[in-house]
Symmetry: C2
Subunit: 460 residues, 2 copies
C-alpha cells in the first residue's frame, strides 16, 4: 500500500514537473515572440545590409563591407563569447556595363530588359548579332541539332509552372535552362543564349542567377530577359524571323579571398553539441539581397540577440554563421564544414534560413539516412509548442550552406517562410528592404529562435 | 469459415471504395488548385472592382456600379442557375472635401495626414480650433473629466499592440477608440476627436473606418491621423501646449437603397441544404477596397467559376453572396438573413472571406452552442485533405455578414489568410489591386473552393 502511494506520489511529482517544465517552455517561447516583435532590431540590420551596403556578390568590396558590419554588430551582443571571420576562397565575377539586348523584326526594333547571368563571359565591346531560335528546354536542343542552332542565339522560354503551389519546386523544375543552357547550346554551335527569367510574375524585371560552364565546351554569353519580354519575343517568333543584338562586358576574374562570419556562445552543460543557425551574407550584385539572403542573416543574428536580451544561458553551444558565397560557389560553406570536420566537431542541429523574410510556415528537416528517422520521431515532442504558432516540422530540404555538415550525422533544418512572393524579388533589383515586411521578418526570427531554444532545452 | 471470408470480402470492398473515394476527392482538390492557379480569373475581376470602379461605399454610385458589374460577370458562369440582386437599405455618408488637420506649437505649424472617420459629421465650412489633449483609451477620459476636456480636441493615441501575433486580435483591442471615441469624448464636452490610425505600420497613411454616435450625446467630428503623425504629435504633447485646427465637410445623408448580389446553383440531391460562400461588395471610399473586401468577393465568384469549369455538379445548393454595407451598417447581411429565415431556409455552412487576399492559412468555425461541437468533431474528416495544403480548421470567428445566419444552426466559417500585412492597407488609399499578390489571391480562392467541395461531398 505504502509502495503504491509512493509510486503514485512519484508519478505525480514527475508529471507535475513535466507540466511545469512544459509551461515554462511555452511561456519562454511567448517571451521570445513578444520580445522579437517589439524590440527586435533585425530590421535595422537588414536595412543597413540591403540599402546602405547593397548587393554583396562574393569577391566584391560590398561583401567585405558586410563582413565587417555584421562582425561588429555581433560583437555588441552581450551573450556572445567569440566572434571571428573565417577565410574562404571565392570566385570573382563582374557584371561590367549595363547590358544591351535588342531584337529586330520586319522593320521594327525593340530593346529588352536583360541581365547577364552570373559567371557569364562578355560579348566583347562590339556585341554580337544572330538569329534568335526559341526552345522550351534543354532536351529540345538535341531535336534541333547543330544544323539549326549553329551561329544562332538560343532563347530558352519554358516558364515556371504556375500550377505548382510550392514555388520552390516550380523554380527547381525551371532553373536548368538558366544554369546549363549556355553550355548545352554551345555544344551545338550557338553563339549566345537568352533565358526567360525564372519567376512566377509577369513583369519587366530581369532575374539574374548562377550559370555554369562545362569544362569541355566553348563558353558563350548567357543573359536573362524579363518574363514580359520573353512573352513578347515568343509571340513574334511564332510568325517571324527575329534577329538579336547582345552586348555585355561581364568578366570572370581570378578567385579571391573572402570570409564567413561566426559568432559563438559556449554551452553550459553540453558544449560539444553545436546548434548552428545561419544564412548567407553574399547576394547577387543587383538589388540589395534583402530577401536573398539578408533576411536569413538577420534572422540568425536576431536569434542570439533575443536570447541574450532574455538572459538565456544555453546548455549547448550556439553558433550564428553568416556564410559567404552561397550564390556562386559555396566557398564559405565548404571552408566552414572542412574546418569543423578537422576539429572533430558535432553539429547536433544546423538551421538555415535562405527562403526570404516572409511569414513563417515551418521547418523542413533532413540528415543522414542512418539517423534521420530517430530525429524525425523525436521532433514530435516539439509539436505541442509549435502548433499554436501554426508552424510545421516535416521532412524536406535543409539548405545549401549547411548540407556539407550532413556527414556529422546531426539534423539539418531549413526554415520555410511562405514562398508565394519570393520569386517576385529573387535575384532582381527589387530585392530591397522596402519589399520586406518588418513584422513578417521578425516573426521568422522568433520562430527560428523558438526552435533553437527547444533543441537546446530538450535535445533531439 | 465462409462467413468470415464474406466478412473479410465485405470489409475489403468497403475499405477499397473508401480509399477510391478519398483518392478521387484528393485528386479533385488538386484539380481545383491547378485550375484556379492557371486559369482562374479572380484577379481580372478584382482589378476591375478596385481600379476601374474604385472605392465602393454603400449608398454610393460606385457601389451600385459594382452590383451591376458582378451581377453581369456571374451570369456568364455556365453552372449558375439564378443570379439576382436583393434590395437592402443602407446608410449614406459622404466624405466631402479633402480634410485639413493642422497643429500649432511654439511658432511652428504642421499639417497632418488625416481622414474623417465614417459617419463623422463635418466641422462646418470654417473648421474648428482647440487645444489638443492626448489620452490612451476610453477609460482615461473619466480620469481627466469635463474640467480638462471641455472645449478641447481629444487625441486618442493608444497604438495597436505589436506583440500580438494575431493582428486581428490587436485590431480588436485597439479599435474601441475609433468606434466610440467621439461619443465618449463628447460626453465630457470635447469639440472634436483625432484618433491614431489602427495599423501595425509606421507610415504616413491615415486609416478610415466606422465610428458610431450614441443617441444621447452631441455628435462631434472624428478624424484619423497617420501613425507617424500620431507619434510626432505625442512627442510634442509631452512638453508643449499644442493647438489644433480641423476642417472636414463630411455629411450624413438620408438612408438609401442598395443591393446584395446572389448567384445560385441548385443542388442535385440535397437542394435544401445551402452552402454559402461570400464576401462584402462595399468598401470604404478611399482606395479601391482590394483586400477589404474585393478579394472576398472575387474569391467567392472564383469558387463557382472553378467548379463550373471543372464540370462539377453540386449535391447541395451553392450560393455565392456579395453582401452590401458590411463596413457601416450590415444592411445587406440583415436583409439576406431576414429573407432566408422568412423562407425557412437552412444554411448548412456559410463561409465568409473578409480578411484579405493573402496566402491562405486555414479556416475558423463557429455556430450555435447546441450544434457546434458536433460540427467541430465531424470536421476532423477533412484534415486528411487540407493538411497537404497546410490549412487548419479550428474554432474561431465566422464573419460579420454570415453571423446573422447563426440561428439556422449551420456552421459559420471564416476564411483566414495570413494577417501580417492586412492592416498595412486596411481602410486606406493603398488598398488597391497592385498591393494584392495574384498567386496569393488565387490560392485563397482554391482553398475556399476545396472546402466548399468537401462539405458538398461529405456533409457536416
Amino acid at each position: 500500500m505504502i509502495k503504491s502511494l509512493k509510486l503514485i506520489l512519484f508519478i505525480t511529482i514527475c508529471f507535475t514537473q513535466q507540466l511545469i517544465s512544459q509551461d515554462e517552455e511555452a511561456f519562454f517561447i511567448k517571451d521570445i515572440y513578444e520580445y522579437t516583435l517589439s524590440d527586435g532590431i533585425c530590421d535595422q540590420w537588414l536595412s543597413f545590409l540591403s540599402d546602405s551596403i547593397g548587393g554583396r556578390l562574393a569577391g566584391s568590396q560590398n561583401a567585405l563591407d558586410a563582413v565587417d558590419y555584421t562582425l561588429n554588430e555581433l560583437k555588441k551582443i552581450d551573450i556572445v563569447d567569440t566572434v571571428y571571420k573565417q577565410e574562404c576562397i571565392v570566385p570573382k565575377w563582374e557584371r561590367g556595363e549595363k547590358e544591351v539586348v535588342k531584337i529586330f523584326y520586319d522593320n521594327e526594333e525593340m530593346e529588352l530588359n536583360a541581365l547577364a547571368l552570373g559567371n557569364s563571359k562578355g560579348t566583347g565591346e562590339n556585341g554580337l548579332t544572330g538569329e534568335i531560335i526559341e526552345v522550351f528546354g534543354l532536351d529540345t536542343l538535341n531535336m534541333l541539332g547543330r544544323e539549326k542552332l549553329e551561329g544562332k542565339i538560343v532563347f530558352f522560354n519554358r516558364p515556371m509552372n504556375p500550377k505548382r503551389i510550392n514555388t520552390g519546386y516550380a523554380y527547381g523544375e525551371a532553373v536548368d535552362q538558366r544554369v546549363h543552357g549556355a553550355s548545352r547550346a554551345s555544344l551545338y554551335g550557338a553563339k549566345a543564349v537568352l533565358v526567360r527569367s525564372v519567376t512566377t510574375q509577369s513583369d519587366d524585371l530581369p532575374h539574374t542567377g548562377v550559370q555554369t560552364y562545362q569544362e569541355d565546351v566553348e563558353p558563350i554569353p548567357s543573359l536573362a530577359i524579363s518574363t514580359n519580354d520573353a512573352n513578347k519575343l515568343g509571340v513574334l517568333l511564332d510568325s517571324k524571323k527575329v534577329m538579336g543584338y547582345i552586348r555585355n562586358t561581364s568578366q570572370i576574374l581570378p578567385p579571391t579571398t573572402s570570409y564567413n562570419v561566426v559568432a559563438e556562445i559556449r554551452g553550459q552543460s553540453k558544449p560539444d553539441e553545436i546548434i548552428l543557425v545561419g544564412g548567407h551574407l553574399d547576394s547577387w550584385d543587383v538589388g540589395g539581397g534583402a530577401h536573398d539572403d539578408g533576411s536569413g542573416c538577420v534572422h540568425s543574428m536576431q536569434v542570439i540577440h533575443t536570447l541574450s536580451n532574455l538572459n538565456y544561458k544555453p546548455e549547448r553551444t550556439l553558433r550564428c554563421v553568416l556564410f559567404m558565397n552561397e550564390e556562386n560557389g559555396l566557398g564559405g560553406a565548404l571552408a566552414y564544414a572542412k574546418e569543423s570536420n578537422r576539429k572533430g566537431e558535432f553539429h547536433l542541429a544546423a538551421i538555415e534560413s535562405d527562403s526570404g523574410g516572409f511569414t513563417p510556415r515551418g521547418f523542413t528537416c533532413t540528415g543522414e539516412p542512418s539517423v534521420l528517422p530517430k530525429y524525425l520521431a523525436n521532433l514530435q515532442k516539439f509539436d505541442v509548442f509549435l502548433d499554436p504558432y501554426d508552424l510545421y516540422l516535416k521532412p524536406g530540404g535543409g539548405g545549401a550552406d549547411i548540407n556539407p555538415l550532413k556527414s556529422q550525422k546531426g539534423l539539418l533544418i531549413g526554415f520555410k517562410p511562405d514562398g508565394q512572393r519570393y520569386f517576385d524579388f529573387h535575384h532582381t533589383e527589387a530585392d530591397v528592404f522596402k519589399n520586406v515586411n518588418v513584422r513578417e521578418l521578425k516573426l521568422g526570427a522568433a520562430s527560428i529562435t523558438s526552435l533553437v531554444y527547444l533543441i537546446d532545452q530538450r535535445g533531439l
